[in-house]
């Protein structure tokens, strides 16, 4: 490090350590044979096995994945179209629209969750995986818009014009030029949406109803009721799963943008 006062280096190390310690401890103790996690009694994979035995956890995982993928597809498509409209076109009310699109991002999850519950009850719409998916799409679209718009901002718009001078009409130019170049942004947005959906607790808890459960909901009830290291195990699985996904996506987008400069 160049010219950084010593105390800052030490301070940073401490802060970063504190930021990661809790999760590291959690992961470590998922392998602890003792149920009460006070001392280390031995290495075991018992708690991971338990996960596979629990049908409710597996069901919740399945639900999370279904909702995650569906919400990602819908939100990414809608959001990308909005980003294109905002970045490339002038229309009346554009500034207002741009401002409004950020409102869901700052709105507390509790408010979004409550208001959606009220709506579904008002419409007598049954709560379940469908309502969860609807909710997830609703809070994800603005994030997709932000991510894709920032990618669009960095894109050269004369490329589409060049394609048009070479005989491609607007739609062809869009598919052959803009979409491939936009794909890192779209992938990032899709990834963000999936992770937000997969992890979501607050909003999901309001619109899930009694019949369905996602992974976060199950974990929450486990934390509330009977704490046992299986929670550590499932948490570890989630952390590792997320890290792998991130790594893969990072690699994809890095290679992509280097080849395309």
């Amino acid at each position: 490090m160049n010219r950084v006062p010593r105390w800052i280096v030490v301070f940073t190390a401490i802060v970063l350590f504190c930021m990661h310690l809790p999760v590291l401890v959690l992961v470590a103790f998922s392998f602890n044979a003792s149920k009460f996690s006070v001392g280390w009694t031995g290495f075991t994979l018992h708690w991971y096995q338990r996960l596979l035995e629990r049908e409710d956890i597996l069901q919740a995982l399945r639900s999370s994945l279904i909702v995650g993928v569906s919400a990602t597809v819908i939100a990414t498509a809608c959001g990308t179209l909005i980003a294109l409209a905002l970045a490339r076109h002038r229309f009346r009310g554009r500034t207002l629209y741009e401002g409004l699109i950020y409102v869901p991002i700052v709105t507390p999850e509790i408010v979004t969750g409550i208001s959606l519950l009220i709506l579904f009850v008002f419409l007598r719409f049954p709560l379940g995986l469908v309502t969860i998916t609807i909710a997830h799409v609703a809070f994800s679209i603005p994030f997709v818009v932000v991510v894709v718009m920032s990618r669009l901002a960095g894109m050269d718009d004369t490329l589409e014009e060049a394609a048009m001078t070479l005989g491609a009409d607007e739609i062809t130019a869009f598919w052959k030029i803009t979409v491939p170049l936009l794909s890192p942004g779209i992938i990032s947005a899709a990834l963000l949406t999936f992770i937000l959906s997969f992890d979501d607790f607050v909003i999901t808890s309001f619109v899930a109803g009694s019949g369905s459960s996602t992974l976060p909901l199950i974990i929450y009830s486990m934390v509330r009721r009977n704490v046992e290291p299986s929670i550590n195990a499932i948490s570890t699985v989630i952390v590792i799963g997320t890290s792998i996904m991130l790594y893969v996506a990072e690699k994809l987008t890095r290679e992509d943008s280097r080849a395309k400069t």
């Binding site: 050269d156 004369t158 490329l159 014009e161 060049a162 394609a163 048009m164 001078t165 070479l166 005989g167 491609a168 009409d169 607007e170 062809t172 030029i177 491939p180 170049l181 280097r258 080849a259 395309k260 400069t261």
Partner: protein
């Protein structure tokens, strides 16, 4: 120098070139275009001949790029804003991909996600050219712009230098064998040495292929070097349209005289006719200008005299018949090929005289700061300017 004056609407320019009047490939008739209330192009008309190297030259904001984009189809003229015609047909409503022309962009606009080969083939693929033909045509196009297909075909644009990218952009356009090629300041980002080379290459491609080149630039040297005709633009209008010689030697307005090359300006009042010349009062001297239409007593006129049309002599040594203005040398500037001597005239005006540099180390100019000097020129070596 006074010469045959141009007409502003050069639809009849074919006749000045002495050839059979072919139908123009591009014609603009009173084209106007405004954006949000600001007029970018005002009532512009000209016709471009087949095979011509036609340039639009002017400072930024003059409307030259907008005009190019009107020809390309990215902009449409205002309602009642005139006609754009390609090959005789009105194309106001046609999209760029419906017009058969090709374009080279200022920032090259190469598709970053495609190889050089795929970039060049793009237009051919759009036209559904058979695969077998595409390969050969791409190779030929690359060879035409002096890029070895073997080395470059598989590369990505990011792996190329600026000059190479520009050539690929050119190849991508030329492979379509267009009748018209539009170029929007393509050499702006390239360094000087390479730029001069490419200027000559572009010119030779124009002659070799017979393609009409429509070129936009703000670099007057570039326009003078390459063009058959130049449209000098300012504030959305064509200030003057003519061959490089006409533009340089007979600038019609002060703007053109200033924008192309250098000029000295003098404003005076016409006194009286004096044989074949007219006397003009300037401060407390008189200089003479040749006869021209519109001159009459008491008229205020402005003339432009280029530095290279001026002589610099010692007082009393003025050649007979030449105009003379006395002053003192203020500066001697070394420009390599030429020397510029700036002479201060009484009343605060400066005039710049260009003299050949015969080698300051072996045959230096005899002028030093403070020397008394007379700026002299033949009466016909000036250009009477029109009001703008």
């Amino acid at each position: 120098m006074i010469g045959p004056t141009d007409q502003s609407s050069s639809l009849g320019s074919a006749s000045t070139r002495g050839g059979a009047a072919a139908d123009p490939v591009v014609e603009l008739k009173s084209v106007s275009k405004s954006f949000n209330g600001t007029q970018a192009v005002r009532d512009v008309s000209f016709a471009i001949e087949r095979g011509e190297f036609f340039s639009m030259l002017g400072p930024s904001g003059c409307g030259k790029t907008t005009t190019l984009r009107l020809i390309a189809g990215f902009e449409t003229p205002d309602t009642d804003g005139g006609e754009v015609r390609l090959m005789g047909a009105v194309v106001n409503d046609q999209r760029p991909y419906e017009r058969r022309l090709a374009m080279v962009f200022q920032n090259y606009a190469l598709f970053p996600h495609l190889t050089v080969e795929r970039n060049v083939a793009f237009g051919l693929e759009q036209r559904k050219t058979p695969k077998s033909e595409i390969g050969d045509r791409v190779r030929n196009a690359l060879a035409l712009v002096r890029l070895d297909p073997g080395t470059f075909a598989r590369r990505n644009p990011s792996q190329l230098s600026g000059g190479q990218r520009q050539r690929v952009a050119l190849a991508r356009a030329l492979v379509l064998e267009p009748t018209i090629l539009l170029l929007d300041e393509p050499l702006g980002a390239i360094d000087l040495q390479l730029r001069k080379e490419m200027q000559l290459e572009l010119k030779s491609l124009n002659k070799q292929l017979g393609t009409t080149f429509i070129y936009v630039t703000h670099d007057q040297e570039e326009a003078l070097t390459m063009s058959d005709r130049i449209a000098v633009m300012s504030n959305g209008r064509v200030a003057q349209l003519g061959t490089p010689a006409e533009i340089y030697e007979n600038p019609r307005t002060a703007f053109v005289a200033k924008f192309i090359g250098e000029s000295n300006f003098l404003e005076g009042q016409v006194l009286r006719q004096n044989g074949t010349l007219w006397d003009v009062q300037w401060k407390n001297t008189i200089f003479r200008v040749p006869n021209a239409s519109g001159l009459q007593t008491e008229k205020a006129i402005r003339i432009a005299v280029r530095p290279e049309w001026l002589d610099l002599v010692r007082p009393g040594h003025v050649p007979p018949g030449e105009n003379e203005l006395c002053g003192s040398v203020r500066d001697v500037i070394y420009l390599g090929e030429t020397m510029h001597v700036v002479v201060s005239l009484p009343g605060g005006t400066d005039m710049t005289v260009a003299l050949r540099n015969e080698g300051q180390l072996i045959n230096p100019l005899p002028w030093r700061r403070g020397d008394e000097a007379v700026v002299a020129w033949k009466p016909e070596d000036c250009q009477i300017l029109e009001d703008e």
